[in-house]
């Protein structure tokens, strides 16, 4: 992409995110979201093939629908209460509208249909941006208004997100779509606890960003886009594919790894609030995700893929070492023993 256009778009992404997360007036929150929507469009459409253009259009239409819903929610609240403070969202219609607008932006069920297709149409780095950086402003708005929102609606959306994220990821062979459903499922976990303990939502978001950034950057390093390519990618960087396995299991939420921490704390908090059925259902539904994470982990470390006997191995074509990937992998797998420190700084 043209360097000037890339500079403008990158700076505008940073500007939009900063404006939204530091805002206390609804109009500034909306402005930041709109700037983000516009600035990511050149990134998604950058490959210039029809799938990328389709992904761009789908992303733009969904975000452009959610933004006026957000604006309408803030305006009806301003009409009823006379003020535009984000934390003072009291009108009931505004609260429901805001929940719907944010869930459209985040990709929560039932507004998740755009997310896998948009992720599949974009490059690996853009998919990373879409899954992590562009989710921060809507989560911030949800955190700021969490005390006003309807718990039933949020819990229903959270459980369905965990369910659909798990079930629909099972039949996928393209890794970006699998990671999209993983994102939907994690959003469900984030939203189920937001009313009871918003700090846990923030912690889940940070750890999810950490783990999924690691996965995306690793896959971008080995240039694997689908499961078949993943099976033969171990020869490029054997160590990296081994650590990819650990990172994927961390994303799945398995105990000695970092990803267990948010799930553990959320289940604990839900049990404290006498919501043991919700906690059980969420835990069972994340088992569905565990299946495709295990499959990904298996394919990343398999050394004898089911090809014909004399297939060509890709052997050390170029040394792809990357310091950020190394640091992020360590963080994404080894943070669990630090959980007391993490808890005290929450």
């Amino acid at each position: 992409m043209n360097p000037h256009a890339m500079l403008v778009s990158t700076l505008s992404l940073l500007l939009g995110t900063t404006i939204t997360i530091s805002s206390n007036h609804w109009v500034m929150a909306w402005t930041g979201l709109e700037i983000n929507t516009l600035a990511i469009i050149p990134f998604i459409s950058e490959p210039h093939h029809p799938r990328a253009i389709e992904a761009t259009v789908k992303y733009f239409l969904v975000q452009a629908t959610a933004s006026p819903l957000l604006l309408f929610s803030s305006m009806s609240n301003a009409w009823a209460t006379g003020q535009w403070d984000i934390t003072q969202l009291t009108h009931p219609t505004s609260c429901i509208l805001l929940t719907i607008a944010i869930s459209m932006k985040l990709g929560l069920v039932p507004f998740h249909f755009w997310f896998p297709e948009v992720l599949q149409g974009s490059s690996m780095t853009t998919a990373l941006l879409l899954s992590t950086a562009l989710k921060l402003p809507p989560i911030t708005i949800l955190l700021m208004t969490s005390h006003s929102l309807n718990p039933t609606l949020l819990t229903i959306m959270a459980i369905s997100s965990a369910a659909l994220g798990g079930w629909m990821g099972l039949n996928q062979t393209q890794i970006r779509k699998i990671l999209a459903f993983s994102s939907i499922s994690h959003m469900g976990w984030m939203v189920v606890i937001i009313i009871y303990n918003p700090n846990l939502t923030l912690l889940t978001f940070y750890l999810y960003t950490l783990m999924t950034t690691t996965v995306f950057l690793t896959l971008s390093t080995t240039k694997t886009l689908k499961l078949t390519t993943m099976m033969t990618s171990w020869t490029k960087t054997p160590m990296l594919t081994a650590t990819l396995m650990m990172t994927l299991l961390s994303l799945a939420g398995l105990p000695p790894l970092t990803g267990f921490l948010p799930k553990w704390l959320i289940i604990q908090e839900l049990t404290k609030r006498e919501m043991t059925l919700t906690a059980t259902i969420m835990a069972m539904l994340s088992l569905l995700g565990l299946f495709f994470y295990l499959r990904l982990a298996y394919y990343s470390t398999i050394t004898l893929p089911p090809n014909t006997t004399n297939h060509m191995k890709q052997w050390h074509t170029n040394k792809t070492t990357s310091t950020p990937v190394a640091i992020l992998t360590s963080l994404a797998t080894l943070l669990l023993p630090l959980s007391p420190m993490i808890l005290t700084t929450l």
Binding site: M1, N2, A5, V8, S9, S12, L15, I19, V27, M28, T31, E34, I35, L38, A39, I41, P42, S45, H48, H49, P50, A52, I53, T56, W79, A80
Partner: protein, 173 residues
Amino acid sequence: MTYFVFFLGFSFVLGGLGVASNPSPYYGVVGLVVASVTGCGWLLSLGVSFMSLVLFMVYLGGMLVVFVYSVSLAADPFPEAWDDWRVVGYSLGFVVVLVVGVVVGGFVEGWKLGVETVDGGGMFSVRLDFSGVAMFYSCGVGMFLVAGWGLLLTLFVVLEVVRGLSRGAIRAV
């Protein structure tokens, strides 16, 4: 006067319906013109005459004119007017949605759409001050710069997406 302002609001919704019923752009633009003219009239009824004139000039005189020029360069030999059956279907569907909304709003809110204030009741609101625009240039300058950057960004994004004649994203095939 009450009925006239209500007529303006009603025509605004009808104009929006005319655009959303998906005819060819030549006929959709008529809906846009109706919607923006009646929207300007509605703003006048609220007392914000400056906003109304700005909307009129920028929307109709600027954006619509540019749209008409660019559309006339890409002419469609058989445009779908409002007598096409697809368009009729869409518009009937939207009329049903409208009627349901008005009925539900009436029964739920007790025909009190909007709040009752000193200046009027029902769909009329408190009059807004013209000095809001002046504040946009003095203490609201940060918002002004951000809004200006947002509009510039739209331009840059569009230029980047359609960069080049055949290499651009719109001509993907």
